[in-house]
Amino acid sequence: MSSALYDLPGPRGRRRNALIGVLATVAILGLLAFVVYRFWETGQFEARRWEQFKFKAVQRELLEGLWFTLKAAGIAAVLALLFGAVFAAGRLSDRTLLRAPSTTVVELFRAIPLLILIFFGYYVPLQYGWSIDKMWALIIGLTLYNGSVLAEIFRAGINAVAKGQSEAAYAIGMRKNQVLRLILLPQAFRAMLPAIVSQLVVLLKDTALGFIITYPELLTVGKTIGGRLAFGLPYVPSYLVIAAIYITLCGMLSVLAWWLQRRMTRLPKSKAVEPVPLTDATRQI
């Protein structure tokens, strides 16, 4: 590993680093041991707090929660991709009449907190007495927000294709539509695929906001399971299980994004396009 911060250590440096390494390991293990001790001290490892996960009914409850999470995420993902495509096209348009409103919409929905967008879908129909499924309130929010972020990813992907590509296409007499469809999109798609997948991880994570409007997704199920007095209010085990499910799901998708990114940078079919950066913490939060 080469870093601007430090030289390769000499003998004394290596000794010092080894010492700090040992101390750090001890500190980390100590921290973990303290957490485990707290768990043990308050009886979180007792069998009665875990045994309900052996019941078929509880497992079905968890699976149903997972299904509700995935259903909302799936529908919202499709709608957000459509929304993103439409508004990215709008922002790339030459006509101000299309570009200005698209820009406003994308900028606006990225600035509003996602939960407030979900509340628009939840409280407003409630007030007028229209019955709307909580799932659709969640999906509306997720679509508007993630669709706007995806629009920016699409636009960045198209803009990342080297200018010479579209110039050459125009020079041989293609129309704007043809340039976009035949030249820019195929190259941009490869560049943005990893970023799109990683945005879908964000969308999947954000379905957890459904908990706040009591949509019966995983977190809501977790609270039900954790709130059972007969099993000693096993909130800790229940949320640990839910966390494990989320980390596995999102982790697998993140690995897919990372793998696509590596594949893309390792086998450059086209040198005319830079991948849309994946490790963009500012987008994933």
């Binding site: 080469s2 870093s3 601007a4 911060l5 430090y6 030289d7 250590p9 680093n17 700090i20 390494g21 750090a24 390991t25 980390i28 707290r38 768990f39 001290e41 308050t42 979180q44 600035a111 509003i112 907190p113 996602l114 939960l115 407030i116 509340f119 628009f120 409280y123 407003v124 409630l126 007030q127 991880v201 994570k205 954000d206 379905t207 957890a208 906001l209 908990f211 706040i212 977190l219 977790g222 609270k223 954790g226 209010l233 909130y235 800790v236 229940s238 949320y239 839910i242 966390a243 989320y246 980390i247 999102c250 982790g251 993140s254 490790t279 963009d280 913490a281 500012t282 994933q284 939060i285």
Partner: protein, 218 residues
């Protein structure tokens, strides 16, 4: 239009309390996550493998966990460990723990943008470690870090609304109160949106101008 204004003036104290709590939540969590995140970022670029591992594990776990789950764990599960924290500090801790992972990533990639040749050249002309770090590395790294850090902070400001689901009276909790008062929610939500736009727009404009100004000189 009068109805629109009436909703704000009639419920002014609720809006004021809500947004002032949002700002407080934001400020505490901003300080907390910047400190914790920078520390974790330093771990990730340190020469000690154990610290690098710890930083990477923290980021990978937290980044793949929904913030709402972090909140739920702190509010429902942690009291079962005989650790009792009030709702507001819980919200600050949840936001800090979650946002720190993203701050850490920004710090790490910011440091990595500085080419090793910079430090080598600085050492070659006889600068000490303090000079290399203070006059060559950090000024360049900070330029790469500040705009994305501001984006992370803006995202965190929006994330404070999640505390509404966990008994903190902040801007996101206003609609629930308004339901009881029977106010028109559409207007209420528009006012909340305006409130957030007022808070966020200056930050976004500052962030973009920094990005533009500092991008040129690389």
């Amino acid at each position: 239009m009068t109805e629109f204004l009436r909703v704000l003036t009639d419920n002014w104290s609720l809006f004021a309390d809500g947004f002032s709590n949002t700002v407080q939540l934001f400020l505490y969590s901003a300080v907390g996550s910047l400190v914790l995140g920078t520390l974790l970022g330093a771990f990730r670029v340190s020469p000690i493998p154990a610290l690098r591992w710890f930083g990477a594990t923290y980021v990978n776990i937290v980044r793949n966990t929904p913030l709402t789950l972090v909140f739920a764990f702190l509010v429902f599960a942690v009291p079962k460990l005989d650790v009792n924290i009030d709702y507001f500090p819980s919200a600050c801790i949840a936001l800090t723990v979650y946002t720190a992972a993203f701050v850490c990533e920004v710090v790490r990639s910011g440091v990595n943008t500085v080419a090793p040749g910079q430090a080598e050249a600085a050492r070659a002309i006889g600068m000490t470690f303090d000079q290399v770090l203070g006059q060559v590395i950090l000024p360049q790294a900070v330029r790469a870090m500040v705009p994305p850090l501001m984006s992370v902070m803006i995202a965190m400001l929006k994330n404070t609304t999640i505390a509404a689901g966990f008994s903190v009276l902040e801007a996101g909790a206003i609609p629930a109160y308004m339901s009881e008062r029977g106010e028109p929610q559409f207007i209420v939500l528009i006012w909340i949106t305006i409130g957030f736009l007022i808070l966020i727009t200056p930050l976004v404009l500052l962030q973009r101008s920094l990005e533009r100004k500092w991008a040129v000189s690389r």
